[in-house]
Symmetry: C2
Amino acid sequence: MRIHQQRLRHFTNLDSVIVRFGGEIGIKSEWTRQAYEKLLLKNVKNTLFHFGLAPEAIARRRGRIYVETRKARETAMQLTRVFGISSVSPAIKTTSDMPTLAITALSVADSTIKEGTSFAVRCNRVGTHLYSSMDICREIGRQILEDLKGRNLHVDLTNPQCTVAIEVWEKEAFVYTETFQAAGGFPVGSQGKVVCLLSGGIDSPVAFWLAMKRGCTVTPIYLDNTPLTDETSTQKALEIAKRLFEWSIGYSTKMYIIPHGQNLETFMNKAPTKLTCLLCKRIMYRIAERIADVEKAEGIVTGEAIGEQASQTITNLRVLDEAAVKYPIHRPLLGFDKVETEALARKIGTLGISTRKAKGCCAAPSQPATRAKLERVKKAEEGLEIENMVEESVKAAKTVIVQLDETY
Amino acid sequence: MRIHQQRLRHFTNLDSVIVRFGGEIGIKSEWTRQAYEKLLLKNVKNTLFHFGLAPEAIARRRGRIYVETRKARETAMQLTRVFGISSVSPAIKTTSDMPTLAITALSVADSTIKEGTSFAVRCNRVGTHLYSSMDICREIGRQILEDLKGRNLHVDLTNPQCTVAIEVWEKEAFVYTETFQAAGGFPVGSQGKVVCLLSGGIDSPVAFWLAMKRGCTVTPIYLDNTPLTDETSTQKALEIAKRLFEWSIGYSTKMYIIPHGQNLETFMNKAPTKLTCLLCKRIMYRIAERIADVEKAEGIVTGEAIGEQASQTITNLRVLDEAAVKYPIHRPLLGFDKVETEALARKIGTLGISTRKAKGCCAAPSQPATRAKLERVKKAEEGLEIENMVEESVKAAKTVIVQLDETY
């Protein structure tokens, strides 16, 4: 009975997190892999310290980071939001000698496997041991069946209801039952810098997130349509930026806010109504290019998807693209359906903010051009002193440092 | 007993398919929606006739196409591969008067709901009837419980093991138990035309597919590296194109094959080794622009993902982009991890072909530039008469019409 109690205490006292990053990082060359792993370790530490989850110890090994912490579950959940990690498991650390390992595994089994269910024991092993991985699975499986024989359990290796998983690393071992998928991608900071045209809508935050996921550091540029919209839009964009920056702890949280209402009014008053959205986006690209210059960024990320809106038909995307002369426009959502973008926005944590009521843009015409001619758009721009408008906008740009919460 | 047999015959004789296209099409303006729905109907018909699944009747209604066919299951499966459709259900057609509807629903229940399980009845209804949707669910649920009382069934509206679903449309009604998710997106042909740089690899076919999914008609351009690779690569690309064109039945199956080996040899012999891949891709973009001119396409689709390869770092994507002056480069995979691209390739049906052994490109250097300077790349191009190389390649371009199978 004493042993039984000890086991349960063990299990409720999860003390480690296994962090895996095989996916994208694993396929890189040795040199790149090493650099990415080190960067990932730095990002993991920054994230944990930021959210008050400072670990007792943290160690990087090939394809793994092992975190020792009394807050294993919270730490694991937080790390699902660090790019470069493929999955995490809260675990109990023990030693790799079979008797000790077995005691831990049995205590985990005791508190996890329910009456009348199926289970499997799985094992990953690195190092030289007196046993093989198969030996562990067999021996511990046998002991579980014996130890819990009152529970009417059976082994199912194909589709078990509960898995007792064991990871042996040299003299250490970890026992766990749960694995959570993490965000994947590359560690933030492993790729170059980009700027992102961020609105309060659903799409652009997802595009921003996908650029971060692939390792970019991203600086948001928000075009403020006041007085054609109200303050709630800016507020939404700021809250969205905050949510996004929570996925790149340790990196800049600077956001550009650029007055754009006057530009829009000029387009509404002095250009064909059908073209308002195209002219608006083209000047946004130009402004973004100027900010990219300042930020030494190497591309501009936007939330456009093919055919999603009138301004995003294949024809109009070409008209838009022509306005960016110095930087590529990166559109990670090109092939996304709205439902797919929304699902991702929900996971990211921005959907609720994006769908909150706000005064929308009232400059959008009811019958926008869906197949605009580039010549007509350029002609419309000719009389407008576009370069001057860009200059004025960039001059009036403000930057804010978005403050992040420090609780998880 | 006679009735029982009749019921079973009814159910095994599925005679209809409900085709839904709420998703992307549903959020469009009335005019666009009408145009897209008509186009979708045309694409559906083309697909079914092509694969020898000519229906007995086909009707478009708001948000639905109803297909009458003796091959309901095969038809439904085939239609999951027509873009613009969100989901399909093989069904039995009946009339909307309650007694007849009930007989059909009971026969379906009889042959579907297993001993000791839970079920629910759900109903969608359009038109004026003597009953409400709720009435149908209640009445038919009650009759199922009564009729099959020997089976120990219970109703579970939250998470039933079997759902008997009923769709009432004016005087008609459909009963079904299965719904299959379809490919989503917009009907092919609803967006403009693009060309796509298609290789025998994993990524570019997925990018091609995503452009189709968003309604584009796509013309593949294959750059043939012979003699630096062998014929198997071209063969793979042709097979991949065939698989892709199966998703856009009724549209052109033309593919461009362009000799590229000599270009590559020039780069290998006369330019810095580190830059080979960038020079190769830049000339591919230029060739694609020339083909886009010929095809009256409005963009170039490629399979690049941020950081996926050395040539695809954010820095290098900018260097690449600079080579395309007339058309936007659309990269739908920018934010995809390799595992995500592979999962999609598996669904599309191209993964098996892409991963088949072939002599890879032997021009790729072991230490490619990951942060190339545009000036150095342009300088390397200066001595090479790039325009001439493009001209020669385009002159030597061949087109093939890819033959599609006509069996499903």
